[in-house]
Amino acid sequence: MTDIVAYFNGEWMPQADVRIRPFDRGFYVGDAVFDLTRTFDGRSFKMAEHVDRLYRSLKYARIDAGLSQQEMTDVSEEGIRRNEAARLDGVGDWHVWQAVTRGTGVFRGPATLATVMVFYLPLGASTYAPYYKAGAHAVITRTRSYSPEALDPKIKHYSRMNFNIAEQEAFDVDPEGWPLLLDQHGNLSEGNGYNVFIVTGGVLKTPKDDSILQGVSRGAIYELAGRLGIPVSEEALQPYDLYTADEVFFTNTPSCMLPVTRVDRRQIGDGAPGPITQQLLATWSEWVGVDIVGQMEALNAGP
């Protein structure tokens, strides 16, 4: 396969050669923020929203990337161009991953230059492809989201141990389980890298953004729902609402959206991806000019 190049501290290099020092705060104290954008047929999708969110994360965490937002966007787009041959060589589309750490430095030592990287990963088709038609299984985990008073979930950071533990708890309950976390009040918050929506009586509902990451794909669903005339409500949702919903789906950047047909091993609706979920997916595919499900299935099937 054609070599993929990545941007690392001002230089382009083979991605396989990028290495992090163990003394980088991004590694030893989870002191990093990141974001990721996907491409559709090689064109970035909502890059501006992702870069905006990255710069909000940087601002909150007070890490200086040393690049303006425009420069970060330009670098990210440049990498898409540089890696176009690799994309056409079986990758399909990219996950463009931007990460900035506070740099190498000792605890309470002098400030150091940030470590800045943009790298290019495949979409991870095997993670998503099987679930567009069969539906994914969710598990509400014992481990909860961070409280905004401890670490606001709006920041996209590398200190994700609660998600890692939730991931294992989900697998304990259902070998195909995708974790869903509650907030400190017992309301639904989010998964480990995806937002959750339910459909009840023709209305799309999703948690407010007080205990979640404000997903760009979640925003895209608002746009699509607006076009299709489907009402959307942001509200506090309990496990009850999930169990009794007609439809449930996740949204995230690589998959766009993923139908959920089981929660805590209970069947949701009639156990198949629902009509509103399907309608949204079809409209999204039209919007970006790529058959989202077909592409993911083709990538998963391999050449």
Binding site: P22, Y28, G30, M161, I165
Partner: protein, 305 residues
């Protein structure tokens, strides 16, 4: 200084050659636990307690260090021995070791873990002057995670809330160390340290429901008992801190550090108190060297350069 020797996945190598891949879950997901102990004049201190805690952290996070505790003990001893010729005058090591879930994708948990160990110099310059002058602390807006989100007993690398808390403390007072509250508004812990207050001759410290159980905290419990100082584990509010006769931190690098300012308010008479001073002396006896004197000598030797 010549380069120290570090360890990664079965091999010893110069420290600069130890690297982590982008796709290591320890990096991109904070999916790692660690521990560290220090040496006193080159001798490991309470290594067993640190190794035991490391294995509890790994057990909770379901990470496999790939060693038995005995094997890890031998390895940490080897790390100290290999680096002994490089230990600087007055210097000592912080030996840091970590296991990550390895090079694996999202929703993939069955990778080969990454294990890293290295020895770094105890950063005496970050606290040497504060034994005599007293450290400054600030109760930060960022709070500790609840055990329902991520139990603070686990020593993990997902420390963004501690990093932010550290910045917030310095916003208020430029050299301050952070103190975090739990969700109920009680004092929890510092960023890598435990908090004690002394009032009317009684020491109190938060119970271990909302903190990392510090090895040095346990040592102070032992010393307090030997010295006949009453000690209680109980919920502590900012009120108790502001009105205390003494406040101090405990932590592996500095052992016991008197705190004389909290939120820019003077604690007690504004000087390190007698209990903290006695504890430091007793700790020094246990460690086999004068911890305050060492920190100052190290710092002064460096600033002469």
């Amino acid at each position: 200084m010549k380069e120290t020797v570090a360890y990664k996945n079965g091999e010893w190598m110069p420290r600069s050659q130890v690297t982590i891949e982008l796709g290591d879950r320890g990096f991109y997901l904070g999916d790692a636990v660690f521990d560290l102990f220090r040496t006193f004049d080159g001798r490991p201190f309470r290594m067993k307690d640190h190794i035991d805690r490391f294995f509890r952290s790994a057990q909770f996070a379901r990470l496999d260090p790939g060693f038995t505790p005995d094997e890890l003990t031998k390895l940490t001893q080897e790390c100290v021995e290999r680096n002994e010729p490089l230990r600087s005058e007055f210097g000592d090591w912080s030996v840091w070791f970590s296991v990550t879930r390895g090079l694996a994708g999202w929703r993939t948990l069955d990778a080969r873990p990454t294990f890293v160990m290295y020895a770094g110099e105890v950063p005496f310059y970050t606290f040497a002057n504060q034994y005599a002058a007293g450290a400054s602390a600030v109760i930060t807006r960022s709070r500790n995670h609840t055990h329902q989100s991520l139990d603070p007993k686990v020593k993990h690398t997902s420390r963004m809330h501690l990093n932010l808390s550290d910045l917030e403390a310095r916003d208020i007072d430029s050299a301050a160390w952070p103190i975090m509250l739990d969700m109920e508004g009680n004092i929890a812990e510092g960023s890598g340290s435990n908090v004690f207050v002394v009032s009317d001759g009684v020491m109190s410290t938060p119970s271990d429901a909302t903190i990392l159980r510090g090895v040095t905290r346990d040592v102070v419990f032992e010393l307090a008992e030997q010295m006949g100082i009453p000690l209680s584990e109980e919920p502590i509010q900012p009120y108790d801190v502001y009105t205390a006769d003494e406040v101090f931190f405990t932590s592996t690098p500095f052992s016991v550090l008197p705190v004389t300012r909290v939120d820019r308010r003077k604690i007690g008479d504004g000087r390190p108190g007698p209990v903290a001073t006695r504890l430091l002396a007793a700790f020094s006896e246990l460690a086999g060297l004068d911890v305050v004197d060492q920190a100052l000598r190290f710092k002064n030797a460096r600033s002469d350069n």
